[in-house]
Each structure stands twice: as structure tokens, then as C-alpha cells.
Assembly symmetry: C2
């Protein structure tokens, strides 16, 4: 007797809300209704756009597309946000259809755009049925494409999860209208359009009797969750490329319908390899410059130099040195932690090119180790060992003022605290449930987090932490013996105040505190 796994019926959002996943027949009925709706809107002159994948990029792109207006003030697009009827993904579909942006955002524009599109103009729906791709004039691909480096004693290996991406392209190829534009926003390995997507679409279309080449373009996003979330799509630079002239022209026409191209002209690159490489280079640049400062942070601390002051003095050199990074806690998010890997993997696996991005990949390793330096400072302040200590960790998002915890450096810190037999006490004003660490209890307030803590690590420069005085910290954390400020959160006054009360204080990149600690 074989067992059949029960079909999952629920999907849980990060805030704990549970949504029922509809049955197949309900999904089919919903699609028929949507199909009718689409035909009506198409007859009114709207273009039909399907956004594939409703994560931090796709959900925001769908909202912005739905908010696009023509010169007469009418919606340009009818937008279908498509994702899977799975426990991991369905809650996003449900939430969009209820008129809510899936995740909390500090930019009210997205919630407004999405709410108006669902409730007022009725030009945005989310759906799970795969036949939706057959309705689209434009398919925007925003599915994730994961990569990681696995370092062992024998060396390191880059692992790219290409199969889910190919599966997403597969459904497009099987369903798309012959003349639809497929526009990739997903960050892909260099070479992906030419060597993965185009052959796959061509083969699937030929199987359907479609022999003309697809319209296929790449136009990478620069979405930045935060207070300018919506404008990072509609009012920011965009580069694009097509596999041929027709595709490039179609991409340009599409982009200029929702991006402010008067202020931010779209930049055409000559081929998809170039624009794929551009995205990876752009993010690698930031990752390398963060790693570079991390090296000098460790040096400055040994030399009892405050690297913040030094960098401030260098950044006066506008145009050449003013983007030098400051010391910090680590690198998180979905881009800087992996994009360099996609370049090396593409070179290896798609071009079989003998070239190594040695320094670039080393930078990613340095960045992954950054939180462990904060841990080392905590251990040093704690007298060498952290075993048995209760350590408050303030902040688990990877950026201030957002709820995004993907690849957060706090994950590395909290895991390492646990491995050293310390007890992490975690707080974040934006995160009630930590999706990647659901078993880590989140304190409801900083006060609750600090109440029994032996030490405090300030890991994210949330506004709620930036104003903290020595008094406020000590009142909430009466047992605190040490504070590590990994993000330049504490004012000099607060640090001095803590120090004067016998609390041991250190700041990442602030070697002068080391001097004070040992010599005052």
C-alpha cells in the first residue's frame, strides 16, 4: 500500500494569518471568470500583463503596472499577478486579491496603488491557474533564482537552483500567445536568455506549431524595499536588451508605459548577455566595496582608530570617493549575497569560459563572515565566552525600516550564538514572525527583549534604536554587562553614558572605544 501525501490546504503569511488554498475546481472557476474579465478589458484597449512571481519584486511591479495611466488618465494595463497554489506562495495571491500589499512596506504608495487597482479601477487580480499566461500580451518574469556557494575542505562549489526557473519558463512556453513579449526581470546567470530561455521557448513553441522566434527581452529591476519602494520601479534607471530588434523595441514600448523615461531614459544594451552581466556587475561592485571596508575595519580596530571618522574625511572627495562604505554588521538580502555567483556560474556552465572572479567571490566570503566579527566583539566584552549568556539581538531585517529578512546577517549571528551555547533574545519592530527562523521567539518589545539580557547587540539601524540613550537602555536592560554596536547606532553620548555606568561597550569599526575601554 502506497501512501499519498495529503494535499496541503493552508498557506500562512509571515504575520501568522492563515489562508485556505482553493480547490482545483474553485481555481478553474476563478480562471473562467478572469478570462471573461480580461477579454472585456482588452476590448477597452488595455494591454494584458501577467507578472509571474509575487515576491518583493513581482508584487511591487504588479502594483506599479496597475497604477500606470495613459495621457487621458486611464489605466494602461490589466495586470494579473501569478503565483502558485502552494503553502509557501498562496498567501500572496490571497492578500493581493483582498486589496492588500503582501508585506508591510514603509512606502505607503504601494498599498495605495494596489488597493486602488483592486477596489476602484479593478485592473489587478492575482491568480494561480497556469492558463493565465495564455491571456497575456506581456509576461514579466519575476520568479526567484537561488544560488549559494558551498565551501568544503576540497574547495568551493557554486550551486544554482536552475530547475524552478526553467519550470517557470516552461509554463510560459507552453501557454504564451505567439506574439506575447516575455520580459525577464529575474536576476539570472549571465547567458541565461540566449542559452536557457530562448532555446526552451523556441522548442516549446515549435511543439505548438509556432515557428517564428519569440519576443524575448531582459530588463533587470533595481527594486529597493524601503521608503522609495514604488519609485525604485517607476522613477529610476532601467537598462534593457532584446534577443533581436523586434524584442528590444517591444521591451522599450512596454517600459516607457510605466517608467518615467523623461527623467530616467531607458538604456538599451546591445544584447542580453550585456544586460545580464550589467546587473551582476552592479551588485558585485557594492559587495566588493563592503568587503573591502570590512578588511580595513578589522585593521582599524586593532590600531584603535575610529574608521567612521577616517571615511567621513575621505568622502569629501566627490565623484571618486564619496560612495565609500562605512563599517557595519553584514550583508543581507537577495542580491548582494548571491549575484556574483550567478556571473561565475554562467561563465562556467553556459559559456565554458576559463575565467575566475577570484577577488569578487572572496568578497562574498568576507561579507558572510562579517556578523561573526560582531560575535567576536561580544565574546571579548563578555570575558571570552558566551556560553550561558542571554544576548539580546536588536534587529533581524537586512535593511533598516523594512520587514525583509532574506539572507539577513542576523541569521548568521543568531545561529552562531546558539552554537556557542548562548541564548539569543531577538527583537525587530518590523518582524513578528521570522520566516527563515520560525522557531526563534520574537520579543514583542525591546523592553521584553532586554529585560533579562546579559548583553545587547545592535544589529540593524532601525530608527527605533537610533534614538536610544544610555538611560533608556539601562532602564530596560538592568542586567546588561555589555553592548556591541554593529551599525553605528549609538551616539557618542550614549556610548559614554553606558561606559560610565560600568557597561563594556564596543562598536564595529570604532577602535577608539577599544582604547577607552582598556585604558580609562
Amino acid at each position: 500500500m502506497s501512501k499519498v501525501a495529503p494535499v496541503p490546504t493552508q498557506s500562512k503569511a509571515p504575520d501568522g494569518t492563515v489562508y485556505e488554498i482553493p480547490s482545483d475546481s474553485a481555481i478553474a472557476a476563478g480562471f473562467e471568470e478572469l478570462r471573461g474579465n480580461v477579454e472585456e478589458r482588452r476590448s477597452q484597449g488595455l494591454k494584458i500583463v501577467v507578472v509571474q512571481g509575487l515576491g518583493f519584486v513581482g508584487a511591487a511591479v504588479a502594483a506599479v503596472l496597475a497604477g500606470a495611466r495613459d495621457s487621458a488618465g486611464k489605466p494602461v494595463f490589466f495586470v494579473i499577478g501569478a503565483d502558485l497554489a502552494t503553502p509557501e506562495a498562496y498567501w500572496k495571491v490571497a492578500r493581493i486579491n483582498s486589496g492588500q500589499f503582501p508585506v508591510p512596506s514603509p512606502d505607503p504608495a504601494l498599498a495605495e496603488l494596489l488597493g486602488a487597482a483592486v477596489a476602484t479601477t479593478g485592473n489587478l487580480r492575482a491568480a494561480t491557474h497556469e492558463e493565465v499566461y495564455g491571456l497575456a500580451d506581456v509576461i514579466v518574469v519575476d520568479v526567484p533564482l537561488d544560488a549559494a556557494e558551498c565551501v568544503t575542505e576540497e574547495g568551493s562549489e557554486i550551486r544554482v537552483r536552475i530547475a524552478p526557473f526553467e519550470k517557470a519558463i516552461d509554463v510560459v512556453g507552453r501557454r504564451m500567445r505567439p506574439d506575447a513579449l516575455v520580459l525577464l526581470e529575474t536576476t539570472v546567470p549571465v547567458g541565461a536568455c540566449e542559452k536557457i530561455v530562448l532555446p526552451l521557448l523556441t522548442r516549446l513553441r515549435q511543439g505548438r506549431g509556432i515557428f517564428e522566434p519569440p519576443l524575448l527581452a531582459h530588463a533587470y529591476e533595481r527594486v529597493m524595499p524601503g521608503p522609495r519602494y514604488a519609485d525604485s520601479i517607476r522613477r529610476f534607471w532601467r537598462s534593457y536588451s532584446g534577443i533581436d530588434e523586434r524584442s528590444a523595441a517591444a521591451a522599450r514600448d512596454f517600459l516607457q508605459a510605466f517608467i518615467d523615461v523623461d527623467a530616467f531614459p531607458a538604456w538599451r544594451l546591445p544584447d542580453t548577455n550585456s544586460s545580464e552581466l550589467a546587473k551582476l556587475l552592479e551588485n558585485s561592485y557594492r559587495a566588493v566595496n563592503i568587503a573591502f571596508i570590512q578588511e580595513w575595519t578589522l585593521l582599524a580596530e586593532k590600531l584603535e582608530v575610529n574608521l567612521f571618522e577616517v571615511i567621513e574625511s575621505i568622502r569629501v572627495r566627490k565623484g571618486t570617493h564619496d560612495n565609500m562604505r562605512f563599517p557595519g554588521f553584514g550583508v543581507g538580502g537577495y542580491c548582494l549575497t548571491k549575484d556574483s555567483l550567478l556571473a561565475q556560474w554562467g561563465a562556467d556552465s553556459l559559456f565554458h569560459a576559463d575565467v575566475k572572479l577570484g577577488m569578487t567571490l572572496e568578497a562574498l566570503r568576507i561579507n558572510r563572515a562579517m556578523p561573526l566579527h560582531t560575535l567576536d566583539l561580544a565574546a571579548e566584552l563578555s570575558g571570552g565566552a558566551l556560553s550561558g549568556k542571554r544576548v539580546a539581538v536588536a534587529g533581524v531585517s537586512y535593511l533598516p525600516e523594512v520587514a525583509d529578512t532574506r539572507n539577513t546577517p542576523s541569521e548568521i549571528l543568531v545561529d552562531a550564538l546558539a552554537a556557542r551555547q548562548a541564548e539569543p533574545l531577538v527583537h525587530d519592530p518590523y518582524v513578528a514572525v521570522w520566516p527563515e527562523r520560525p522557531l526563534v521567539p520574537m520579543a514583542a518589545s525591546l523592553e521584553e527583549c532586554l529585560r533579562n539580557a546579559d548583553g545587547l547587540i545592535l544589529a540593524v539601524p532601525h530608527a527605533a534604536y537610533r534614538g536610544l540613550t544610555a538611560e533608556a537602555i539601562l532602564q530596560q536592560g538592568p542586567r546588561l554587562a555589555f553592548v556591541v554596536d554593529a551599525q553605528n547606532v549609538l551616539s557618542d553620548d550614549a556610548a559614554r553614558g553606558l561606559h560610565s555606568q560600568g557597561i563594556r561597550v564596543a562598536g564595529v569599526g570604532k577602535g577608539h572605544w577599544r582604547k577607552r575601554r582598556y585604558h580609562e
Copy 2:
């Protein structure tokens, strides 16, 4: 019988001019005259400044100091440029005393300042007698401090030539007036002021019965030979620090007498370790970002991508990505090639700190290897081997429009060409004699250089090369079979023109030419 080496009596400038080195008695007589001159000018209210070392920095600083005026339009300083009566250095002394700036400069301001100071206001002299340090109110140290990394199979070792620097400080300590300010502009290992200069000056002064601490400050220069050579001193940012409050105040007063501090306020750093580190970090930042692009240059070429276009498209992101570097030929000059080594050496030798600037030092290695990639492209275009080929190298200075050949990447290229049994034919419009490679004949014109050349490597983007058309290149070089453009010198038209005439063409960072070469 022991032999005594004859005392050298001549000093030869890079342009071939020979100067007689004066006898000891003539030097002594010259000093007595200078001493009288100084006493008179001091009584007129001028401060006496000795600039120690008349290289690319010291000579320019001396000229700018001599040009400083008070609010009444009168000279502020009487300036003595001090260097050694040796074959290597004396020509600079002679040339300044004849009213000429020692090296050709594209900035006419320096020659004007220097000529006027020597001929009109009479407030600038160059001298070799070591007693000049005893005349100074301020001693500005601009002596070289060399460093290099020696890479062997067992590992790498950083070698710093600290002895000549200590010798320079030694003469200051033995001669300086008790209340003179010693201001270091030389780029030094981090820790040098506190751990080398201060102990040495203190000991020498105590030997002379001077027990109060010296006035000692560090204020690193950002001199850039080129069209804004003078303004890179008087109208640019300057950071400084002192070993104590008195020293910092004295340094500030001195700097604001010749720097436009209204537009570029001097930035005080809290200690000399901080300002020494700032200089090294600042230049390492550039070196790392050049190496980063070199890695991606090799990748882009394999992928047949034009990295220039890609980087142009990324640089629209002002404030974060607009200083991304472009592909190129290599890194030369006195700073970016060695300053990172001074940080690691200082950490190791002066602080005994267990910290490694691994990625930073790797960047210097990548940069040193850059010219060899250009060589590889030349070999590839030449059919694999360069043996027996006559290869024109256009440009040996390390920057366009300057005569400075220190650590030029052309040196690495020319040496490697010779090692591969090719014959380098070298031209530079600014370099008649190549000081570091005096045996390499310099062609008098590009035409002479190209006349018998089998191939051309464009190594420096001098204006004289940037305008070159395909016709001009082919007319001057009738035997040319290949051209490698290592500096984005050729226009697309020129490249296409050469290609259409059967010349094989490649550009560093321009993988799309590779595609054209093989497929057109």
C-alpha cells in the same frame, strides 16, 4: 691598496641635460649666502619653510608655498627646497635655482609660480646643505618611502625601504630649531609618526638638550600631476593631524596660509594613526576598484561583451555607482601601486597586529598583472607567438599628458615583450628619456615608432593618440598586422577602418571586437 670611488660630479636630468654638482666648499659658501638672505626675509615677517625632497610632490609644494600671499598681497613664506647633492637628485636643485620647474608639466601654473618666485619675488631657493633645516620655521617632509611586495614560491613578503626615510628624519632631528613644526606629507606606513618619527626626533633633540616634545604633524598630500597640478595642492581637500594639540594647531595655521580653506576646509583627524590610515585607505580604494574591473574585463572578453557600454549604463546611478572604473591597461605611479603595502607593513611591523588585508593586497597583484593581459591579446592577434615581432608601444607615462613614468605599466609590458624575444619600439610624446629604462630607445615620433612595426599597442590615452584615424595609423605603419587598444583610445570608426583593411584589432574590455574578428 684600497680604491676610493671617485666623487660623482655630474647629475643628468630625464631630458638629458647635465648639471655639474658643486664642490663642498661651493655648497658651504652658497649656504652662508642663503643664511643671510633668510635672516633678512625673516626680519621682514616671512616664515621660513624648508621642503625636504624635490620630487613630483615636493617641487610642486615648494612652488605653491612660494606663491602664497597674505591679504596685502605679499609673500607669506621664504621657501627653501632641499635635496641631495647626488647624481640622482642634484639636477632638480639646479633646475629650480634656474627658475624652471624640474619636470615638464601640463599645468602652466607651476612653471609660472616657480619662475616668479625665483626671478621676481626672490622667495624660493633650492639647496643641498643639511644646515638649511636649522633655518626653518616649518619643515615639510616630502621624501620618498618605497615599498614593494616580493612574491616567491614560499609566499610573499612586503619590503619597505625605511632607512632612507629615517635618514631624512635624522637630519631634521639633528638640525631643526626647537620650536619648528615638522609636517609629514610623505605617505608613510600607518604608525610611522608615533612609532618612528616621534621617538627619533625626541631622542635626537634630547641629545641636543631640547626636552620639550617636537611640534609634529601629518598632513597627507593629494597631488595629482596633470593639468590641475598646482590646484591639487592649493585648491583641494586636505586632512591633517598632530601628535598633540599644539602640533595640530600649528599644522592648521600653516595649511590655511596656502590652501583655499574657505572652499576646502582642512579636516582634522584625531591622531596621526588615523590620518596615516586615511591616505592608505583612500588609495587602496581606487586600487581595489581597478582590480575588480580587471576581473570583470577578463570575463566580459570571454563572453564577447563590450564592458565599456555596460559600465556606462551602470554609471547613471549617481552617488553609488558613478565612479565605477573602466577597463584599462594597468596601474602606475607612486601611490596606488604601493600604499596598501604600507598599511599591512605598519600593522605587522609597528603594531604587531594579527590582521591581513588579503583582498586589498590581492588587488595589487591583479593590477600588476594587467599589462600582461594586453600582451596576451597581442600574442593572440599575432597568431600565438611574438618572437621576432617588432611591436610599437605607444605611451610609457602612467597618466595621459604627463611625463611621469614611475612604476608605469608600460615597464611591465616592455620587459615582457623583450622576454618573449619581441622587439619593443617605444614612443611617448612627453618622454624623450625613460628614467627607469634608460637603455630603451625612445622614438622621436609616432611615425618613426610605427615605420617598421608589425604590431601596435596603444598603452596610454594621450591626446596625440586619441585622434588617430585608421588612415593615419596605416600610413605611418605600413607593415602593421595587428593593433591592441588597451585604453579605449580608438574610435569605433578607426577600429572598423583598421579591420576593413585586414588589420587584426582588439580592445581591452571590448569583447564584441572578438566576436567581429572571428565572425565577420
